[in-house]
Structure formats: structure tokens, C-alpha cells
Symmetry: C2
């Protein structure tokens, strides 16, 4: 009998508004009022979809992760050599355009926020390490790893490099172009792949 409002879609639109507010004002500036305004809703309407602020933030952040995971899954399903796919996946993680840069910034805001909100501490990480470990496992079983390398060490090296690049690409986009990022990652993949 009720209206035909798509609940999930509406919640996602609110979450996207939250991203924008976080992007513009940081986590401290992400008030329910600002988010409601950005989403074009009244305070009461917003409260109908999220009973409190923490729930909203949590939902918004899960959505960031979900969207990124989706894109990465797409890449993995494409054709191409394992090495090329791995490069593409890592290039998707390191933000090199305004869209992914914004996502990364929102994600970092959330990580900082969650550290001081016990309810959110149990949330899993970003899954990047797990993804890299998975890819290494695949490479090993298919004999693609360069002989003689220390697998655990190389996982740690690549993981650190990717997150470091991601951080730098977010903080200094003008200095770290996509071309440079690609060069750095490719050089590291050359160390790993036979």
C-alpha cells in the first residue's frame, strides 16, 4: 500500500551524499544535517532511513568498499595475462583520477574515524592484502613466480608499495601521475614474475 520508494537505492543516495560531505568537510564536518541537505532530504526523512549517525557512516563506508570490490572483480574477469591483470587490479587500487581519489579519501577518513569508535573496530580492513595473497597463491600454483624469491617478503613489499603509492597519489596527485604509478608497479611486478 505504501509508496514505491526503493529503500536500498535511497539509502545508497544518502551514502553518496555522505561521501561528498566527508570529502568537502572531513569526518568532523560530516553532520547529519549537512548530509541530509546534500541528499535533498529533511532531517526527519534522513532519520527514517538511518536511525543514527554511526549506522549511516558505517553503511556509507561499506558501500565504498563494495563498489571498489565490484570494479576489481570486473577486472579479474577480463581476458589477459595474469601479469597484466595483476597490474590492472593494482592500478585500480591506486587512485589516479578524481573519482577513485575521492573514494580513497573517504576511505581514509573512515579508517581514522573507526579507530576511535569501538563499535566499528571489528569491521574488516580493505581486503587488499588478502587480494594480493590470493594472487600470489594463484601464481605459485601456476609456476609464474620467479624462482628463488621469498614469497612472504615479496607479498609484504608489494603490499607496502601499493598502499604507499595510494597514499601519495591521494595526497599529491599533481606529483604522482598515472604513468608514474604504472611504471613503479610494473617494476615491482617484474621482480615477482618470471
Amino acid at each position: 500500500m505504501p509508496k514505491k520508494v526503493n529503500h536500498e537505492q535511497r539509502r545508497n543516495r544518502i551514502a553518496e551524499a555522505a561521501w561528498q560531505v566527508i570529502l568537502e568537510f572531513g569526518m568532523e564536518g560530516a553532520t547529519v544535517r549537512k548530509i541530509a541537505e546534500k541528499a535533498g532530504l529533511s532531517l526527519g526523512a534522513l532519520r527514517y532511513y538511518f536511525s543514527n549517525q554511526e549506522d549511516l557512516i558505517l553503511y556509507a563506508m561499506r558501500l565504498v568498499k563494495e563498489r571498489a570490490a565490484e570494479r576489481i572483480k570486473q577486472i579479474l574477469h577480463r581476458d589477459g595475462s595474469p601479469k597484466q591483470k595483476m597490474l590492472d587490479v593494482l592500478l585500480e587500487i591506486v587512485p589516479t583520477n578524481p573519482q577513485t581519489r575521492a573514494e580513497m579519501e573517504v576511505w581514509f577518513s573512515f579508517v581514522g574515524y573507526a579507530r576511535h569508535h569501538p563499535h566499528l573496530l571489528k569491521e574488516e580492513g580493505d581486503g587488499i592484502l588478502a587480494a594480493i595473497q590470493l594472487m600470489f597463491g594463484y601464481m605459485e600454483t601456476n609456476g609464474l613466480l620467479r624462482p628463488g624469491i621469498d614469497k612472504q617478503l615479496e607479498i609484504e613489499r608489494l603490499y607496502a608499495m601499493v598502499d604507499g603509492l595510494a597514499l601519495h597519489a591521494m595526497l599529491e596527485p599533481e606529483r604522482l601521475t598515472e604513468k608514474q604509478v604504472e611504471k613503479v608497479i610494473a617494476s615491482q611486478l617484474d621482480v615477482i614474475f618470471e
Copy 2:
């Protein structure tokens, strides 16, 4: 005629109190009241030393950087091979104990905070890239670089790896022990040094 209070020392004590509050409650929880309480001062007393919150935060963060820079300078003045000194410097940057981990966390809080506070945006970065560039320059003039390497690329690789490790050591201290960090950094230095 006045009291013999050491102004700078008192300001530093307040800044250290701010660190503790930021560490415990995050940047959003770093209210002037909490900082005053942690420093054992009244609100009015605190206001005597810092006329507003932003000044206090800025001072506190400059002090973090200053302290770290001091420790690194100490390392550079020690005896030892260039390679060993470089390893020690980078190990000082990556937090592997509660003290430096706390500093790193405060620093990251500040970086996130500054991005949304125009007054602070002109503050310089952490100087890590500059330090690495300096060390590479020294190595090059002294013929310590492995022949045939791409200097700019290796600077970018090392910089990303160090900051990535720093991030991971801060977020997952139980997973990334000091021994592991040292192994990762050393392996990268082996790539660079002849």
C-alpha cells in the same frame, strides 16, 4: 616581575596533552576542554597560551615533526656505513614501538584534519621524500648507487614502500613486527646499493 613560568615548555606540555587526547579520541574528540583537563589546566589558563584551537593543533603538529626530525638528525650524525645509516633512518620513520606508533597516528590525524582546514593547507609535508632524495643524491655523488638503476624510479619505489610500511605498522602492529619491517626495507636497499 612576573612568575617564572617557562612559556615554551608549558606550550610543549599542552601540545603533548593534545597528542594524548587525539590518540585517545581522534581529531573530532580533541576539544579544548579535554586537552586542558589532560594538561591539568583550566580552560582559561589554556586559552592564555593558545588563543584558539587551530593554533594549538598547528603547534602540536609542528612539534611532532620537530621531534621526529631531531631523532633522524641524531641518527645521521652517528658513525656507520651510508647503507646502515639509511636503514636506521627509515626504521625510525616506520613506527615499530608504541611511542613512534603514537606519533605516527597523531601525524596521520593531522594530515586528515589539515586537508579540510585551508589555513593549514600551506603547511609543508613530512619531509620524508626530501630526505630520501637527499640520501640518493649523496649516494650518487659517492658512487654508491648500483649501476644501471633508474634513480627517479627507485626513489619513488622506496618512498612508497616506506610510507606503506609506516601505514601498515600503525594499523596492524601485531602483524608487522620490527624484524619484518627491517627485512623489507633491507631488501629494498639491496636493490639500490651497489
